[in-house]
């Protein structure tokens, strides 16, 4: 890290030179050529346009390429991510086309509101991601910052301030947690951030937000100074954020500024070590502020302990969390938050006695509204809820600032809090309804239905919890109210009792004859009247307060009843509240009883006073009647003797009378005592009855409460038991059912098998019979078919044979009909003969017949009758010419003579002479024979012609020998063919029959 940062100056030096050296330029060009990535090229081009190129003193060309590629890829991914964040369609396409894009985008973009998707197992990872997330947001902010206009920047600053405030609050509520670690986490980013921004100088350039910068940088060389100025002037914790941003800005803008005109300023490297400590300091300062703020918040009311408690509980649960499941925690959490809120509210009204009444009252009035709101807004994080509960301020404003999008700091510092309160994710979902940025984010991903459903479920659950918390809060509030009024009423009652007692005492005192008291009788009686007045006042007030308290009591009772009915199951809180109510009512009644007792005492005292008064008056009267002139107390001188005597006499009489009266009294004392006792008894009875009724009521209430409690417990227990029993029952039932079913199945299956077997056997027998029948029939049919097939085959064979024979015959008779001359009309018969042979099979008869076909006819063929007739004409002419030559031959002269003879012989009448019935062979000469043969041929009798020709002798026979041979072949072949045809026909006919 440090090495990388140390490398920066050198690079900046290179940048500062502006006109790079040739040595340095070479790798740069290479780098430009090597940069395969398009974006890298673009970045390079932009850099060149700016007029500076990143050079490196080290000779690692490959390293640089890799670095550039990495940066380019990172920049591309970053750009895509930013664009995906703004455009859901683009994001959808990305997710559809690029593997792991969904996970990546989900992890990067859906961090805040999408928490419920993530299992708790990766809480730690999440925290890490969250840190990265915060960084990322800072980056984004940093890259966006230069683009902002002045007003926008102001707005941003405001937002950030708010974010910082909330962060401070959040920190303040995590004070009891190991804060330093947190501070470290949030304070460490700046250096980390610093380097990436510098190193990514090239990559950053092409991230769209900063694109405008280089172009604009030519015109205004402001950034470094501005950032430097801006950094110290800011006094809020947001500087932690502002710094890296400023660095990012300076990293981007610093390049154009460091043109050759100026000497190399080298501010960033110099700044870096200097600036980090201030950042840390500032952070510490900010945390100190936050702590102070928290303390101030806490001291506002006596509730720091209460505030700490829930957070401590959080911590505990956070540590426990990984082992636990998500939902229970989520359920648990709101309760805790509610508890915290309640604790806060409980803590608060307790002191009103010590505090000024109206203020407490005002707070108490404010409470339900604020608290309800706070709970509705999700008790979203305990800190916020606690703050809301503890402070008079309305939450919404705070919440608004808290949920601004610019709360990157909050993200960083609050990430642990976020992790700690998984229900916070649901809170985010709720918050989505409250503030815009989250809502837009939530709207950006409408397709994730299962998560939404889950979030909705959570929301509903939390709504229920909030309702419950609200009910509880109302009850609590009413209870507080009641408590206050009840205490005041009790107080008033006590005062009244006291006043009554005082009054009676005063009376007693005044009635005492002893006037040696410090006051005179007059004064004493005045005091009595004063005490009386005070008593009346006190009584009046006690009555009024008691009435108010009773009213309140009824109200609370109604509220609790309603709460009980509205909530599905009796809550511990409500039960305790009810108990409290009972206790208060009892106290109230006791106080009222005390007053009535005091009043009864006072009554007795008054009666006593009346008696005393009556006695005194009687005495006076008596005295007057005895001594009318003597006025008791009326004289101021010495009494005369008479007077004294009379007085003494009266006194004696009186004494006697009194003694007798005393005796009488003593006698009557008992009865009077009895009377008084009876009266006292009745009084006591009355009181006791009242007490009894009170006690009874109290016990009834307690009993009812206990019963309720026990009923609730019993219900739970019995329900659980019932469930287990039911389960067991169901299990047993199913088992039993299974057994029964199994047995039944077995029975049925065995029965079925037996039936099946019988049926099968029957069926098999029947089938066998049928099969046998069918087989017999089939065999018969087969035999018939075979016989028929034999016949058919025979017939077919016969037909084939017949056809072949006919073909042979026809061939012998006609020969080659397409031949040009008679000499070529022969066709070899072997093919047809073979066909016949095949068709005939191994029939001996046919074989014999076929064997009679001459070999020559097979090979060369035979002349048809036409050809032989044609040939005969020439044979006949030659024969006539050599008719005179005998077998021994002749001389040339003889030949010549023979020729002359043939020329001279005119055979007009003998040509084609029909032979007679009988022919004498000895008389036949050559010419006659030829004539007969010609006639025979003309009549189609080749055989006869051959016979005639066979009778020739000498040279003519020699001449005719070839013809004769051919004729004989033809005749033989024809005969054979005819025989074959006849035989075939016979066979065919035989088959037909």
């Amino acid at each position: 890290m440090w090495r990388a940062s140390r490398r920066v100056p050198s690079r900046i030096k290179c940048l500062g030179q502006g006109r790079p050296t040739s040595r340095a330029q070479q790798p740069c060009r290479n780098y430009a050529e090597e940069g395969a990535d398009k974006s890298a090229k673009a970045a390079q081009a932009r850099l060149q346009a700016v007029g500076s190129l990143p050079t490196e003193t080290s000779s690692g060309g490959v390293g640089r390429t890799i670095l550039t590629a990495t940066l380019a890829v990172g920049a591309g991914v970053g750009g895509l991510t930013v664009y995906a964040k703004t455009s859901p369609e683009f994001r959808k396409t990305l997710e559809g086309n690029i593997p792991y894009a969904r996970e990546y985008l989900g992890a990067v973009l859906d961090r805040g509101p999408k928490m419920p998707d993530l299992g708790l197992g990766g809480v730690v990872d999440k925290a890490k991601d969250m840190v990265g997330m915060g960084k990322k947001k800072e980056e984004q902010l940093g890259s966006f910052l230069p683009k902002l206009s002045k007003s926008k920047a102001d707005e941003e600053e405001k937002q950030r301030k708010a974010a910082a405030d909330t962060a401070a609050q959040a920190i303040a509520y995590g004070v009891d947690q190991p804060y330093p670690a947190e501070a470290k986490v949030s304070s460490s980013p700046p250096p980390v951030k610093y380097i990436p921004t510098h190193e990514r100088g090239t990559g950053k350039d092409e991230e769209s937000p900063a694109i405008a910068v280089p172009a604009a940088a030519d015109h205004r060389p402001l950034p470094v100074e501005e950032s430097e100025v801006a950094t110290p002037t800011d006094d809020k914790p947001r500087e932690i954020l502002a710094e890296p941003i400023a660095f990012g800005v300076s990293a981007i803008m610093g390049r154009p500024q460091s043109t050759p005109k100026k000497p190399v300023p080298e501010p960033p490297p110099a700044q870096l070590p200097d600036e980090k400590p201030p950042a840390a300091e500032k952070m510490e300062q900010s945390t100190a502020e936050a702590v102070a703020f928290a303390v101030s918040v806490g001291t506002d009311e006596p509730m720091p302990v209460a505030a700490k408690e829930p957070s401590a509980a959080h911590k505990e649960s956070a540590t426990k969390r990984p082992a636990k499941e998500k939902k229970p925690v989520g359920v648990e959490k709101p309760e805790e938050t509610a508890a915290a809120a309640i604790a806060a509210s409980m803590d608060e009204p307790l002191p009103p006695e010590s505090k000024s009444e109206p203020k407490a009252k005002k707070k108490a009035e404010d409470k339900p509204a604020t608290k309800k709101k706070a709970l509705k807004e999700k008790a979203e994080d305990t800190a916020a809820a606690a703050v809301a509960a503890g402070m008079d301020l309305p939450i919404p404003a705070k919440a608004m600032t808290t949920s601004g999008e610019a709360v990157t700091d909050k993200h960083v510092s609050r990430e642990e809090k976020l992790v700690e309160t998984p229900e916070d994710t649901a809170a985010a979902a709720v918050a989505a309804a409250l503030d815009q940025p989250f809502a837009t984010e939530a709207r950006e991903t409408p397709m994730r239905t299962p998560e939404e459903v889950q979030a909705k479920l959570l929301e509903k659950e939390i709504d229920d919890l909030a309702d419950r918390a609200a009910t509880l809060a109302i009850i609590q509030h009413e209870l507080q109210d009641l408590k206050r009024t009840a205490t005041s009423a009790i107080h008033a009652q006590e005062e009244a009792a006291h006043a009554t007692k005082m009054h009676s005492e005063q009376i007693k005192h005044a009635m005492d004859e002893d006037t040696s008291g410090p006051l005179g009788k007059e004064e004493q009686w005045q005091a009595v009247t004063g005490a009386k007045e005070a008593q009346v006042d006190a009584l009046k007030q006690a009555e009024a307060t008691a009435a108010a308290a009773r009213e309140n009591l009824e109200k609370v009772r109604a509220v609790i009843k309603q709460g009980k009915s509205s909530l599905s199951e009796p809550d511990q809180e409500i039960l305790s509240a009810e108990e409290e109510l009972g206790k208060l009512a009892y106290e109230l009644e006791t106080a009222v009883g005390k007053v009535s007792k005091a009043q009864a005492d006072a009554q007795v005292m008054q009666e006593y006073q009346a008696l005393v008064e009556q006695g005194r008056k009687q005495f006076k009267k008596e005295l007057e009647s005895i001594m009318p002139d003597v006025k008791l107390g009326g004289w101021r001188g010495k009494l005369s003797e008479d007077e004294l005597n009379s007085l003494i006499a009266h006194a004696h009489r009186r004494i006697e009378q009194l003694q007798s009266q005393l005796a009488e009294q003593q006698l009557l004392e008992k009865s009077r005592m009895d009377d008084a006792l009876a009266r006292q008894r009745t009084e006591d009875e009355k009181e006791t009855l009242a007490l009894l009724s009170r006690e009874l009521e109290r016990q009834k209430r307690e009993l009812a409460l206990a019963q309720d409690l026990r009923i609730a417990q019993a219900r739970d227990q019995y329900e659980a038991e019932m469930r287990t029993q039911l389960r067991r029952q169901a299990g047993a039932h199913s088992e039993h059912l299974q057994d029964v079913l199994r047995v039944q199945e077995q029975e049925l299956s065995s029965k079925h098998q037996a039936e099946m077997h019988d049926a099968l056997m029957d069926e098999r027998d029947r089938y066998q019979v049928k099969l046998n029948e069918a087989m017999a029939r089939l065999r018969g049919v087969e035999a018939a078919i075979e016989g028929r097939a034999d016949i058919e085959r025979e017939a077919r064979k016969a037909q084939e044979l017949l056809i072949a024979c006919e073909t042979l015959k026809r061939l012998i008779n006609t020969g080659n009909e397409e031949a040009a001359s008679w000499e070529e009309r022969r066709i070899p018969l072997s093919r047809e003969v073979n066909t016949v042979k095949e068709a005939a099979g191994d029939s001996k008869f046919f074989q014999t017949l076929l064997g009679s076909v001459p070999q020559q006819a097979m090979e060369a063929g035979v002349f048809p009758e036409d050809s032989l007739r044609q040939r005969f004409l020439r044979v006949k002419r030659v024969c006539r010419r050599v008719a005179m030559i005998d077998e021994t031959g002749g001389t040339l002269f003889q030949f010549f003579v023979s020729y002359l003879q043939s020329l001279l012989l005119v055979d007009a009448g003998r040509r084609s002479l029909p032979p007679g019935k009988e022919v004498d062979p000895k008389k036949l000469d050559t010419f006659t024979l030829l004539s007969y043969a010609e006639h025979s041929l003309e009549n189609g009798d080749l055989e006869q012609a051959a016979r005639f020709m066979n009778q020739l002798k000498g040279e003519p026979r020699k001449v005719a020998s070839d013809w004769l041979e051919e004729a004989r072949l033809t005749l033989e072949a024809r005969q054979a063919a005819q025989a074959l045809a006849a035989a075939a026909a016979a066979v065919g006919l035989g088959n037909l029959v």
Binding site: R871, R874, V875, V878, C879, R881, V882, G889, G890, T891, L892, F895, K958, V959, A960, S961, D962, W963, E965
Partner: protein, 86 residues
């Protein structure tokens, strides 16, 4: 293979052969006679006639012999006889 001569055509062939042979022999005799007449006999006519006559005679003799022996083979090639004469 040359077609077998038919029995009825054999006589005609014989006549052809005889005539050709006779002409050749007469020509040869004439030529010999002319040569003799020119070179030995000082252009006397008789050697010519004599030669021609000898040729004629030879032709006639050959022809008659041919007609008398019908089974005599002619030509430069051997003729295979498969069918026996009856």
């Amino acid at each position: 293979m040359a077609a077998e001569v038919r029995s009825e055509d054999e006589l005609g062939k014989k006549w052809d052969r005889c005539l050709a042979d006779t002409i050749v022999k007469m020509g040869g005799g004439l030529a010999v006679g002319v040569v003799f007449s020119v070179f030995l006999f000082k252009r006397r006519p008789w050697p010519v006639a004599f030669g021609t006559g000898v040729g004629l005679g030879m032709g006639y003799s050959n022809c008659q012999h041919d007609f008398r022996n019908p089974n005599l083979l002619h030509g430069t090639f051997v003729k295979k006889i498969e069918k026996g004469e009856k």
